[in-house]
């Protein structure tokens, strides 16, 4: 009786267990939701007639996007180049705002730019985007990364190949394969060790998807039961596709490569559909042991395993003998390791997204994040920083210490951040100086002082101000006696020159006349978020800012007085490609455009006549730029911030432990800044003159109105229309070199000819 009762109880427990497993299997698998980390994309390259991209640039770009030379009519992902003409079979890609189907296009380019764009039917294409490059994923630490395939994405050869190698009776069994178990048992007994596993694909899927890694009989039984329940509820097709998405294929640092979709990208940098037989065979072979057969670490093992798979495929008549021979003879075809990992930029993206998304959603919800990153600008900034730091270290006096640095490049009109370099070790995560190094900005603050002065209407570029010693009693009773950099005193100088040569005494006197609150308020309008201390030393830049904050402030100066909110993320789509959120261009008037224009023209003098004049030698001949050097006390921080017609950028150089560098802004940061922009083929800075101002010639030394014929140091400044300027005796506007009725444009060109050589 007790025996029968005990049996009934056991049976009941067994049934309950099966019901429970059944429930787990249906519930979890039904609503199966792969943990898909957010994918992050750089900005796609926009092609149009006139776009600054030579034929070689274009080919380099196509290679970077893993397009291969060949017959473009054979399929997407291939291009053919003849001279400057390209036929391209563009892949199917999703942009933030549309899905593009595969498309044939013809592109012609000369040595400078794109000259023609046509679709396959010969129609002119006004504009065409290349694929947005993937720059990374937001995956959890020790997390799974994958690209999910839909049934249509699975190539037939993968379908039959994986069954052939891993589970020949997949289409017949019901989740557990008795034949397979007996065969494996027999093989293992004969060999005296485990040489074959009897697990079906279904069991492998159950193991990966539902169970832990523990090895026990109980787990094996659970696995088998769950496999049976899974097969009872779901179709073979669903199980196979799930398996192809779940399977583990390799490890990239802390990132686990799951599924054939990501496997294809990780090993070959191509979509699965573009893989050839040998590449597919390599991936199929990897399933057995991704680390043992790791093709990057154990190429011989991987090749042997691949060729075994190829042989089996041939024997099963899935490929013919010729294809098998070709596949077995081909190289592994791995894409080069490393590549474009941009941790500092991804850091900015992550911070931006954290305002709107939970960490868990970023790591698992399969979002697509479209950023403003321009890979070319990023590469230019990385190279400029690493090369210059190396050079400066070699020339430096500090033995054994390594200079650090940071660079940010943005597009001033939209506020798009196009490049972020957070330190000299560009490829690794670490202290992100571009976002987190908060340092005194030195003379980078001066444009705000001069802008505040211009805004009062009491000052213009020609106004003579006093560069003379000054002593101030501070609120704490101490006396502050600022000095010029080399302790000179310049006396009476025009404002344009005081800024160009970064005179401290003149700036302090000017700033005190305008008032510290007014200067602080100007800084705030330009984009500084934390209000600075109203201490007179603010005028010489004791205020501390991160490179990112500096870029925000200078964006307003580069953008005619409009502050464009910095933006790293443009749009976020959900896993189905539906738009979740877009971050629009946001602009706000930060300062009167006419005052900013006058200031910007003075900032051009910095790079032509002042402390930033070394920039010209590093930039393409004739490129007009505006900017400002900055050096904090005892040369602990070396800064340069400025802009061209296309970009605003800031560079910082210093030591992490804040020791003295011996580098001024012009020696340390300026070369980094200029080299970055030189590589970007940046257009000249040529702002549109407002109607309220006009160009006038003044003597750079004395500020008196003159002409180039009259004074060798004549410079053009912009002043409010009809400003009365004291004239140099015997010179003045009537004897100007250009005709008095000359337009502003003529004078600017005349003046540029004069200075840009």
């Amino acid at each position: 009786m007790a025996l029968i009762l005990g049996f009934i109880v056991l049976a009941a427990i067994g049934v309950a267990w099966i019901v429970h497993l059944d429930h787990v299997v249906t519930r979890e698998f039904q609503g199966r939701h792969w943990s898909i980390p957010a994918r992050v994309y750089a900005a796609p390259l926009e092609l149009y007639v006139g776009a600054q991209s030579s034929a070689n640039d274009l080919e380099e770009e196509l290679r970077r996007l893993h397009y291969h030379p060949g017959d473009p009519f054979a399929g997407p992902g291939v291009y053919r180049r003849r001279g400057g003409s390209f036929d391209l079979h563009a892949r199917r890609v999703r942009f933030s705002d549309e899905q593009r189907e595969p498309q044939l296009v013809s592109i012609s380019a000369d040595q400078n730019s794109i000259t023609r764009l046509q679709s396959a039917d010969g129609a002119e294409l006004p504009v065409f985007r290349l694929d947005p490059p993937v720059i990374g994923s937001v995956f959890p630490v020790h997390g799974e990364d994958r690209l999910v395939l839909s049934p249509d994405d699975v190539p037939p050869l993968l379908r039959s190949g994986i069954k052939l190698i891993e589970d020949r009776r997949f289409d017949e069994h019901h989740g557990v394969d008795a034949h397979g178990i007996v065969r494996a048992l027999w093989a293992n007994l004969r060999a005296g060790r485990v040489v074959q596993g009897g697990s079906t694909l279904t069991q492998q899927l159950v193991k990966d998807y539902f169970l832990s890694d523990e090895q026990s009989f109980g787990r094996k039984a659970t696995e088998a039961l769950m496999a049976l329940r899974l097969e009872a509820h779901f179709s073979k097709e669903e199980i196979l596709v799930a398996y192809l998405n779940e399977v583990y294929l390799g490890q990239d640092g802390s990132r686990a490569i799951h599924g054939f979709g990501l496997g294809s990208e990780y090993y070959f940098a191509k979509p699965l559909a573009e893989l050839d037989f040998s590449e597919l065979a390599l991936l199929i072979g990897l399933v057995k042991g991704p680390s043992y057969y790791d093709p990057r670490k154990h190429a011989d093992r991987a090749r042997a395993r691949r060729n075994l798979v190829v042989q089996e495929l041939e024997e099963a008549h899935l490929i013919d003998a010729a294809a098998a021979a070709r596949a077995a003879a081909s190289p592994l075809g791995l894409r080069p390791p490393g590549g474009s990992y941009v941790p500092a930029y991804l850091d900015l993206v992550r911070r931006h997204l954290k305002r709107d998304y939970a960490e868990a959603d970023l790591a698992a919800a399969g979002l697509a994040v479209y950023t403003s990153l321009d890979p070319r600008a990023q590469a230019a900034a990385e190279r400029a920083l690493t090369a210059n730091l190396k050079r400066l270290d070699a020339a430096g006096r500090v033995r054994g210490a390594h200079l650090e640095g940071a660079v940010i490049v943005a597009e001033p009109n939209s506020g798009d951040v196009v490049a972020v370099v957070g330190g000299r070790d560009v490829g690794t995560d670490g202290f992100n100086r571009a976002l987190d190094a908060r340092r005194p900005i030195g003379s980078l603050v001066k444009p705000a002082v001069y802008l505040a002065a211009l805004e009062t209407g009491r000052y213009n570029a020609a106004t003579v101000i006093e560069d003379a010693s000054i002593e101030l009693k501070l609120s704490d009773g101490t006396v502050w006696a600022p000095q010029n950099f080399e302790h000179q005193i310049y006396g009476r100088v025009p404002m344009a020159r005081a800024l160009a040569e970064s005179m401290n005494l003149a700036t302090v006197r000017l700033g005190l006349d305008i008032g510290l609150p007014k200067v602080a308020e100007t800084l705030r309008r330009l984009g500084l978020e934390t209000p600075p201390m109203l201490n007179p030393s603010l005028l010489l830049g004791t205020v501390e800012m991160t490179p990112l904050e500096v870029v925000q402030v200078y964006t307003s100066l580069a953008n005619g007085g409009y502050r464009a909110r910095l933006r790293a993320v443009r749009a976020v789509l959900d896993e189905h490609g539906r738009p979740l959120k877009s971050f629009k261009v946001q602009i706000e008037e930060a300062a009167p455009p006419a005052a900013v224009y006058q200031l910007d023209r003075m900032l051009i003098l910095v790079t032509t006549r002042g402390t930033g004049r070394d920039a010209a030698a590093r930039l393409p001949r004739g490129t007009v730029v505006a900017g400002k050097t900055g050096t904090s006390s005892d040369t602990r921080d070396s800064w340069f911030a400025g802009f061209t017609g296309s970009y605003v950028s800031v560079a910082w150089v210093g030591y992490d432990d804040n020791r003295v560098t011996g580098l001024t802004g012009a020696i340390g940061a300026l070369p980094v800044w200029a080299d970055t922009l030189a590589r970007l083929k940046s257009a000249s800075f040529e702002p549109v003159p407002p109607e309220l101002v006009e160009d006038r010639w003044i003597g750079f030394a004395d500020g008196l109105e003159t002409s180039p014929a009259c004074s060798t140091d004549a410079v053009v400044v912009s002043v409010p229309k009809d400003t009365v300027l004291p004239a140099k005796p015997g010179c003045g506007p009537s004897s100007m070199g250009t005709s008095p009725s000359g337009t502003m444009g003529d004078k600017i060109k005349e003046w540029l000819k004069h200075i840009v050589h």
Binding site: V127, V585, G622, V688, E691
Partner: protein, 181 residues
């Protein structure tokens, strides 16, 4: 030395000449007109009707005869023009986000073209974001200096944006500017 100087200057002069030639050629090109403009003689104090999404491209009027050449004239390149057309199509279908990101593309190609900022401002009005529309209008106005036709378009955008914020007095001041006549 002087010789070096001249040879270095030459390219910039050639560029200038080319730019002038281009400007002369392009001055005959029609400026793509914007969506139908609201009457500029709107009654002070009257609120504009519900912001409308930008309509389809209106027919391009013939270039008006000009007594003297304007110092500047803004126009759209084929690339930005096609993106503007695409943006308007999307907006007319109610896809304002798509319209906006398409205009973003155009602005990346020609960031200093006031016509694009006017277009963006019109879109912001359609999105009921009058403050951004105002900022776009002001920026367009500052980029359009020397180009009466574009200034007038920017001015109309600006006054619409101000009226949408019930800042009618400021709107009237804009409407009285010489470039609005």
């Amino acid at each position: 030395m002087a010789q070096t100087h001249r040879s270095l200057r030459a390219p910039s002069l050639r560029t200038l000449a080319a730019a002038l030639a281009a400007a002369v050629l392009l001055s005959g090109c029609p400026v793509p007109s914007q969506r139908p403009q609201p009457p500029s003689t709107s009654i002070p104090g009257a609120q504009p009707s519900e912001p409308q999404p930008p309509g389809p491209l209106s027919p391009i009027p013939p270039a008006p005869p000009r007594a003297s050449p304007a110092p500047r004239e803004n126009h759209l390149s084929p690339a930005t023009r096609s993106l503007v057309t695409q943006s308007r199509t999307l907006a007319s279908r109610g896809d304002l986000d798509g319209a906006s990101s398409t205009l973003d593309r155009a602005l990346r190609i020609e960031p200093n073209n006031p016509l694009l900022w006017i277009e963006l401002g019109r879109l912001r009005l359609a999105e009921s974001d009058a403050r951004q529309a105002e900022a776009c209008g002001r920026k367009a106005l500052s980029l359009a200096s020397g180009d009466r036709a574009t200034q007038a378009q920017a001015g109309r955008l600006l006054s619409d944006a101000l009226r949408a914020q019930r800042r009618n007095q400021e709107a009237i001041e804009i409407e009285r500017q010489p470039f609005m006549r």
